[in-house]
Symmetry: C2
Subunit: 143 residues, 2 copies
Amino acid sequence: MNNQLASKAEAIRMLQERDINPTQQRIVIAQLLFARPQHMSAEQVLMNVQDSGVHVSKATVYNTLSLFAEKGLVKEVIVDPTKVFYDSNIVPHHHFFNIDNGQLSDIDDASLQLQAMPQLPDGTQLDGVDVIIRVRGQQQAQA
Amino acid sequence: MNNQLASKAEAIRMLQERDINPTQQRIVIAQLLFARPQHMSAEQVLMNVQDSGVHVSKATVYNTLSLFAEKGLVKEVIVDPTKVFYDSNIVPHHHFFNIDNGQLSDIDDASLQLQAMPQLPDGTQLDGVDVIIRVRGQQQAQA
DNA sequence: TTAACTCTTTAGAAAGAGTCTATTTCCCAT
DNA sequence: ATGGGAAATAGACTCTTTCTAAAGAGTTAA
Ligand SMILES: [Mn+2]
Ligand SMILES: [Mn+2]
Ligand SMILES: [Zn+2]
Ligand SMILES: [Zn+2]
């Protein structure tokens, strides 16, 4: 249903652009994530990579996702108290989160703007703004 | 530093208003939470209640916080991947989250408005909107 | 070629938040 | 007092994430 991967060459290029040593495991995880803009949990990454025949350990998946987030290749989305989502779409945008089925989806950036940025607490700098619109309804998760 | 409790009578009244049977444990947790608007984790609630001399189990703290959330007495704030915060301020408002020290603070509601509500995904209803402004800086957590 | 070195990966143990279960306790109506 | 439903409890358990100690890969230097 979702088996397309980004090319190996493209994955390597993306890693090198961010000064990430393109190891086998990092390449295959990048090919999976950057096949298209998507939201994946660590467990989904692990299962998808293993299904593709490459052996990657759980620790490496976590290490790699953290590294990618640190280097700005993916963005962590904190919205479900039970797990972190990694977003391969790093264009600034916000999210719908369906609390009935756990589905996370992007909000068209044009359709949501903040009126103004509030003054930040003293001595702090802006890191980012996350808007989550929680919705209910639709079928339960189909996984 | 933070020992004031809401009165027992007030706590009981708040519980009864929401059709919650005012048991000993629920009353003392309510006295703690509603002493003032604040954000607490389950663990903080457990420790504070136990410090006050009342014996309450971990399971009861979780059950009670879930019940309060379900009944609308508190609001869950999902912002830190390692734990849920319970907000005793249920007036609609948004949050600053300091990723360096884990501090959660309220944004004055007047200073942050959404320009418009995007169209929701088909077949879904609005549950709520959470805006989190992540900031960096200041000392690490003082706990 | 081998040795040394650094970086990465790995299995599995460990940590921590949250949930579940079986039992006991509490509270109230009779 | 007693019976019964609701709530609380200890502690086992689950699940995500992190840590640890050891093995592997790749690179450079002799
Ligand atoms: Mn959790
Ligand atoms: Mn976690
Ligand atoms: Zn997204
Ligand atoms: Zn708040």
